[in-house]
């Protein structure tokens, strides 16, 4: 006879550090052992229900939603019966979470009154056994009043000491209050084998070790999903049957959630479709003043049709409204990602990729078959993104807008550290183990490395550490704030999903992440920040100021040959996306000549193409057209734009369809798997199928293998073509500015710091190499920001923002006074006209900003330090004869510049050292090209960067800077290990090695590394290490 049972009390791993099973595992296991359904009831949370729902839907298994709340003597499990009940529960959770700091909640008994459409099960805690004053009874009585005919008492038989007493107490309460009793498992793991992990999680939760948990830990592993036979032995039949009685009253599925986008934007008596069409065509006329091209017109119609069918009009209008707000406030913004595939987005000014010039796939963005919401990511100037966020809150209210969560999971480091602590292993020892783990070492996985490090240690806890760290990997740790994903609802967001406090003050997040939103088809907008947009905006402003006319992005001439020529030289310091060392080395090889080459350039130096071995074939084919061939016409259609080599994620997906016989649905699953590979590791079956399909269709085995590797690479960092296209626009704009307006470009970059790859010092040196004259900060000429000294020449005046220790208030005072009454003529006059505190006075003098008024920096600093504010009282101030200080030497000046400004406009330290003969036989960077490939060479320079990318087989890339530019040094793993002291510790490094030359690209393969930091004592140059 079938035993009826539904488990109504399950805590998944989303009850952080309490549940030891994923929601998916709980649902699958419940089905496997023949339960009639399962309710996921995390503690004051619905964070795990979407995952459970997804699995239950796939398995067609009854799934119920609820949440657990802990009172003093009673655990209350609230269960949703219908849509209203769901909304009520969301609001209750939000209310409890919002009252308490992040990660906790606060609830009172009367708060449950709002759950008019929910059922509750009350479980007595062992503490009730001690309760001599009937507190638990009062709580149960109140709950019964709040939930008439909707309340059950739960009994748990967990084979512990309290079972009998609690059962008796529950039965007595049931009789007194006339409440039905139901069997409950109180599950926190799907199988008993998870008990060690569960204990470890409890220990982490209580910040102690398992050995010290004592009575806080369950005495056995009975809180798993137990077999129905066992349940039958433990509970009376009627208690088990009661579980189904509850289920008969629950009729809610997450599918019912009808998510309405805000409709505020559509005027009365107008349909959303008509309004979107209207706005699209208004935008199209602005975009194409000479008439909309036929192709674009057709594309617009097609897109509007699909948008209408899928009812996404409100979503597009909401994004349009944000972008419109940004433009009205003069905030530069641009859509990125797959939205750049849309002509509608272009016409609504959301994106900048002109559909007339590119062949983009709208289906990648929205497709009827996929029936999933589009994802529009919009970048805003990084300094002004907060204005856009505040606009969202103002326009829709905090009730209607919520920030998406990101689930922070256990990664290798956190897993080893926290499990180790829970096992009682010494923190320093764990730190030492972690320091020695190379998580990027592909050849030797971290588990193997850890095993070797632990070695034959007699401490059995270390073996347990290895086992449990592996097991906990991927478990959620806590919820964090997504970088900018907003969910905006027509109604209150906290009715749709619980909202809780984020760590940041005044920020709230919803309990679901982007995958959950995608599963339920909810729309989100990514409001992102991009430093380069701020820089470009500032550059345009400077251009407008100089030329006396408004410069907009559209005014920058397109396809400028000089700009491409500059990029072909690898001259790209500060240029968006192509400024890294790897990109700089690629530019002279790829030699971009047109916009589409930039799209490829942006996408090619990424894990996907690199791991797939697609970079060299592409470069070779660019140089020699005869190498371009296609295995079939179908493949040609997909790969023609990239010369037969797959570069973009879309191409790989398309290839899977045309060359390996994937159906549209399978290809879509492949795309999803690539996005989720890091989390789920589900790519293997797709790779196998792809390879088999391609071999079956007669394709080359090597080509198939490379494609499989590339898929894996995309899994690490997906890069669709549309995304590359959006970025390429900014690459072009920034490159044009660098090429034609180097002073303005440098000025804008400096004013947007911190951003990008290079320090202000490196940016200034690059500008000086491009014939920009850079003037030091000066109280009579500088403003807070960096400015153009003379609008008509390439002269840049450094701003006072660079002066360390100077407050902006003081700088503003100086500038205002200067504008009001003219330049300062002497130190005394400055001090009389502007009231500065000692710190500001000293900062200005130390940075040399007073040089024009009072001699050298030592003398002015002394005077500034001793300055006494005049008082209204007729007192004689203490006066001593002026002390005369010796003027600083060149090196002293240079050191002071570095100290106070972070850069120096004087000679480069290497120039001075070279003059002193301290760079014996070292070749300067500008002469490297004159030496033959393979020659022995010595170089030296300041270390400005050390990098060890995961794709570089353990090589470390060191960047040295001398007075002429940068030198790229490659240190192979063995060399690095043998000379790590010099490699890691040197600020001034001399390298003896072999020159490698390919065209205009030079590298020095390091042999011997010599730490020369002692040559210049006190020089403190910031290096960008292992970023």
């Amino acid at each position: 006879m079938d035993i009826p049972y539904i488990e109504w009390h399950c805590r998944s791993c989303f009850s952080f550090q309490q549940g030891a099973s994923h929601p998916e595992e709980l649902v699958s296991r419940a089905m496997q052992i023949g339960y009639h359904g399962i309710g996921i009831t995390d503690e004051c949370s619905l964070a795990g229900i979407v995952r459970a729902y997804r699995t239950a839907k796939e398995l067609e298994f009854p799934f119920y939603i609820g949440s657990e709340f802990r009172l003093q003597d009673v655990i209350v499990i609230a269960i949703v019966t219908n849509k209203n009940g769901y909304h009520q529960l969301c609001q209750l959770i939000s209310q409890c979470r919002r009252r308490a700091p992040k990660g906790s909640y606060q609830i009172e008994l009367d708060d449950f009154a709002c759950l008019q459409d929910c059922l509750v099960i009350a479980l007595l805690e062992p503490m009730a056994l001690l309760d001599n004053h009937g507190r638990y009874h009062d709580q149960l009585t109140r709950l019964r009043q709040l939930f008439p005919e909707r309340m059950w008492l739960g009994v748990r038989q967990r084979l512990n000491l309290y079972d009998d007493d609690l059962l008796a107490l529950t039965q007595r309460s049931g009789q007194l209050l006339q409440l039905p009793i139901v069997a409950i498992g109180s599950v926190d793991m799907h199988v008993p084998e998870r008990q060690p992990l569960r204990d470890v999680m409890y220990a982490i939760h209580h910040h102690t070790s398992v050995a010290k948990l004592a009575s806080r830990q369950a005495c056995n592993g009975e809180s798993h999903l137990r077999s129905k036979r066992k349940l039958q032995r433990l509970f009376p039949k009627e208690y088990l049957a009661e579980t189904l009685v509850i289920a008969e009253r629950c009729h809610f599925s997450l599918e019912e959630l009808r998510y309405d986008y805000p409709k505020d934007l559509v005027p009365a008596h107008t349909s959303a479709a008509a309004y979107l069409r209207l706005q699209t065509y208004i935008g199209a006329e602005l975009r194409y003043p000479n008439g909309i091209p036929a192709g674009v017109q057709a594309q617009l119609e097609k897109e509007l049709q699909i948008i209408h069918e899928l009812e996404f009009e409100h979503y597009f209008l909401t994004v349009w409204d944000l972008v419109r707000f940004a433009r009205s406030q003069d905030i530069l913004c641009q859509g990125r990602g797959s939205a750049a595939n849309s002509a509608v987005c272009y016409c609504l000014h959301i994106t900048e990729v002109d559909p007339a010039n590119t062949q983009l796939l709208f289906e990648r963005f929205i497709s009827k078959e996929r029936h999933e919401p589009p994802d529009i990511d919009v970048d805003f100037e990084h300094e002004r993104r907060e204005e856009v966020i505040q606009y969202i809150y103002q326009r829709y209210g905090r009730e209607r807008a919520g920030l998406t969560a990101t689930v922070i999971r256990y990664r290798v480091k956190s897993a080893v550290r926290e499990v180790g602590k829970a096992l009682g292993i010494d923190g320093h020892y764990l730190g030492k183990l972690l320091k020695q783990l190379d998580r990027r070492d592909k050849a030797e996985p971290w588990q193997q490395q850890l095993r070797q490090l632990i070695g034959a240690s007699g401490d059995h806890r270390l073996q347990q550490l290895l086992h449990l760290s592996q097991e906990i990997l991927g478990f959620p740790r806590h919820l964090s704030q997504h970088v900018g994903g907003f969910v905006i609802a027509a109604d209150r967001v906290d009715r749709l999903v619980p909202v809780e406090n984020a760590a940041m003050a005044e920020r709230t997040i919803i309990q679901w992440d982007k995958d959950d939103l995608e599963t339920l088809g909810l729309l989100k907008i990514d409001v992102l920040a991009l430093g380069m947009l701020s820089a470009i905006k500032k550059a345009l402003k400077l251009l407008s100021g100089r030329d006396g006319r408004v410069w907009r992005l559209q005014d920058i001439p397109r396809e400028d040959p000089a700009t491409y020529r500059m990029l072909q030289q690898g001259d790209s310091v500060g240029v968006f996306q192509v400024e890294s060392r790897a990109q700089m080395n690629m530019l002279p090889r790829l030699k971009p000549q047109q916009f589409y080459d930039l799209v490829v350039q942006v996408a090619i130096v990424r894990p996907g193409p690199i791991q797939g071995g697609m970079v060299h074939p592409y470069l070779q084919r660019r140089q020699d057209a005869s190498l371009v061939s296609y295995p079939s016409s179908a493949v040609k259609e997909v790969l023609e734009r990239t010369l037969g080599v797959p570069i973009f994620q879309e191409q790989v997906i398309k290839l899977a369809m045309v060359a390996a016989g994937f159906s549209a649905g399978e290809a879509d699953k492949l795309r999803r798997a690539m996005g989720a590979w890091k989390r789920t590791g589900q790519l293997k079956p797709f790779q196998d199928k792809l390879k088999a399909g391609m071999l079956e269709r007669g394709y080359d085995s090597e080509f198939a293998d490379r494609l499989c590797l590339q898929i894996q690479g995309f899994g690490e960092y997906g890069f669709p073509e549309s995304h590359a296209a959006s970025f390429a626009i900014l690459v072009y704009f920034s490159a044009w500015l660098k090429c034609h307006e180097p002073a303005i470009f440098c000025c804008a970059l400096l004013n947007s710091q911190p951003m990008g790859f290079y320090s202000p010092s490196q940016l200034v040196q690059d500008a000086m190499r491009h014939q920009v004259q850079v003037l030091p900060p000066c109280v009579n000429h500088s403003e807070w920001d960096h400015t153009l000294a003379d609008p008509n020449s390439q002269t840049l005046r450094l701003g006072l923002r660079l002066v360390k220790g100077l407050s902006q208030v003081a700088a503003d005072q100086l500038v205002t006074e200067r504008q009001r009454s003219g330049n300062f003529t002497s130190l005394e006059q400055l001090l009389q006209r502007v009231s500065l505190n000692t710190r500001d006075r000293e900062a200005l003098a130390a940075a040399g900003a007073l040089a024009q008024l009072g001699g050298h920096r030592y003398q002015t600093r002394w005077r500034m330090l001793g300055y006494q504010q005049p008082t209204a009282l007729p007192l004689l101030l203490e006066q001593n004869p002026e002390v005369e200080f010796n003027a600083p030497t060149e090196t002293e000046n240079l050191l002071e510049d570095w100290q106070t400004l972070g850069l120096s406009l004087q000679r480069h330290p290497l120039a001075i050292l070279r003059e002193q003969g301290k760079c014996y036989r070292c070749t300067p960077s500008n002469e490297l090209l004159h030496h033959p490939h393979g020659s022995l060479i010595r170089v030296s320079g300041l270390v400005t960067g050390r990098q060890r990318p995961g794709t570089a087989s353990g090589a470390t890339f060191v960047t040295l800077e001398d007075e002429f530019g940068n030198i790229n040094v490659i240190v192979w793993l063995a060399t690095a290990r043998a000379q790590r002291q010099a490699l890691l510790g040197a600020q001034l490094l001399e390298v003896h090695g072999v020159l490698e030359k390919e065209g205009q690209v030079c590298h020095v393969i390091a042999g011997r590394l010599l730490d020369r930091s002692d040559l210049w004592h006190g020089l403190n140059v910031a290096s960008r290490d292992f970023h």
Binding site: S215, R216, N220, H428, R861, E878, Q981
Partner: protein
């Protein structure tokens, strides 16, 4: 004239890692950077302020210690006691330096050079680095020590009188601003004025220093050059009674120690009365003549819970302890150290309240028992809260009864467990479960399921803990028994009810 002593490796010496061959470091307070590295670590490129991760990369076998202010202070105390032999004015300066006044001691030690030479020859072994500086002011002596300058400003002038008349400039010359312990901000400010050496400060108008360089620097400099008074807080020996006796002959019988002990205990009683203290612990360390039974010395601890300043009581407790003791080897030295004490206060006795007297008698009785039978012989029962029956209750030594940590103090956790225990677990547990034939018992009730501590298991293929299912059963002779079945299905008797 003052001598300054700087112990740069003191934080490492506190861990005994100053000059060991293993690269060792002390971490900063945040625990993420190197605060101090020993010479072996420095040799591998590790230096102060380096991130810990980088230090580990340079030296994977690095030994890491945390700052231990207490151990450092004790070490510094010991150093003060060492220096107390040479000067009546010993002053601690900061965490790792001491200054002593030496001018008044020169005559006693036959000249300054002899005194310094004597000091250099007797530097204790437990300290691995000691820089010494000589100057007319304490602060300047310390600065010179920190700067590693030559002891004598002029090699040929070593006479005290000549040194005392030497110009201050001579003492200040070659003193770099970076080595004297000023803050980074102060050093940067001076560098930013082109001042690299302290002598430059001396050339500036003294009154300008305060206005231009701030109060702190002005005060420091003024004290160093003797313009501002620099009163030194004298080191005071700790308020602890300690006596050390080296016997002129070896004592072979334990009771023979009572004779020297009587004298010491009487001094102790005087010491306690003068301070109006009552003592709770007294330790006797007996240094053996040779290594015997794995030890060089025997430590005896005498305790009295109510505390006492009476010589007779301490002597009686000592006699009880020594009376049953068999010395592993003859005793050559005896050290007596007073332990925990409290200020004693006069109390009025209540004529009709014998409670206090009863408590006092009880405490003396327990103290006598402990002295006679040993600390381990007297235990109290303790409830630990573990769900494993054999771990839920334990006996802890009497003297640890107050320091035993309770795993979970909250009654909501402990209360229910204790209550349930009372009814469902027997009070009489067997020391080890005994395998039994279940057929000899009648099972009455399933009691509970308990799993073992998986983390104590040796690694096997699985981490699954062992499991026990307990039942209450009646034996053939009518007694109520507590049995369990293990994972293999074998039955064990674990306890008896009633």
């Amino acid at each position: 004239m003052w001598l300054g002593f700087h112990f740069p490796l003191l934080p490492l010496d506190a861990h005994g890692a100053g000059v060991v061959e293993t690269p060792s470091i002390v971490l900063n307070r945040r625990g993420n950077r190197v605060a101090l590295a020993n010479p072996a670590a420095c040799h591998q490129g590790i230096k102060a302020d380096m991130p810990l991760a980088q230090a580990f990369t340079l030296s994977p076998e690095l030994q890491v210690y945390e700052v231990d202010p207490l151990a450092e202070q004790q070490l510094l105390d010991s150093l003060c006691q060492w220096l107390s032999q040479y000067s009546a004015t010993v002053c601690q300066r900061g965490g790792n330096a001491i200054v002593i006044e030496v001018a008044s001691m020169c005559r006693y030690f036959h000249g300054l050079a002899t005194l310094i030479s004597e000091l250099q020859n007797t530097i204790p072994n437990f300290i691995s680095g000691c820089d010494i500086g000589l100057a007319p002011t304490p602060l300047l002596a310390l600065w010179r020590a920190r700067s590693h300058l030559a002891l004598w400003p002029q090699e040929d002038v070593k006479d005290l009188a000549d040194l005392q008349t030497m110009a201050i400039e001579t003492w200040l010359s070659n003193l770099p601003i970076t080595a004297i312990g000023w803050s980074q901000q102060e050093v940067q400010r001076l560098s930013g004025l082109g001042i690299k050496s302290i002598i430059y400060l001396h050339k500036l108008p003294f009154s300008d220093l305060r206005r231009h360089l701030g109060e702190s620097l002005y005060q420091d400099f003024g004290k160093a050059v003797g313009v501002i008074k620099d009163p030194q807080p004298l080191y005071v020996l700790p308020d602890q009674f300690e006596r050390h006796v080296t016997f002129d002959r070896e004592i072979e019988y334990s009771l023979g120690l009572l004779f020297p002990l009587r004298r010491i205990v009487e001094q102790l009683a005087l010491f306690l009365r003068r301070h109006r203290w009552r003592l709770f612990d007294l330790s006797l360390t007996l240094k053996l003549a040779w290594h015997a039974e794995g030890q060089d010395e025997v430590v005896l601890l005498l305790r009295h819970d109510l505390g006492s300043d009476r010589a007779e009581l301490w002597l009686e407790l000592a006699e009880l302890k020594l009376g049953k003791m068999l010395l592993p080897a003859p005793v050559r030295e005896l050290t007596v150290v007073s332990g925990r004490w409290e200020a004693s206060h006069e109390e009025n006795a209540d004529l009709f309240d014998d409670n206090r007297q009863r408590k006092a008698d009880e405490a003396i009785f327990l103290s006598r028992l402990r002295a006679r039978l040993g600390e381990q012989a007297l235990s109290v029962a303790h409830f630990s809260g573990h769900h494993l029956p054999e771990m839920s209750g334990s006996y802890v030594p009497y003297h640890l009864k107050n320091s035993q940590p309770i795993p979970e103090e909250r009654p909501e956790i402990h209360g229910p467990l204790l209550r349930a225990w009372r009814y469902q677990r027997p009070n009489w547990l067997l020391p080890q479960p005994q395998a039994v034939n279940i057929a000899e018992f009648t099972q009455l009730k399933v009691s509970e399921r308990v799993v073992g501590h998986w983390w104590q298991k040796q690694p096997t293929e699985t981490l699954q803990p062992y499991r026990r299912d307990y039942v209450i059963a009646r034996s053939q002779d009518g007694r109520l028994a507590w049995l369990f079945r293990d994972d293999q299905g074998i039955w064990y008797l674990h306890g008896w009810f009633g």
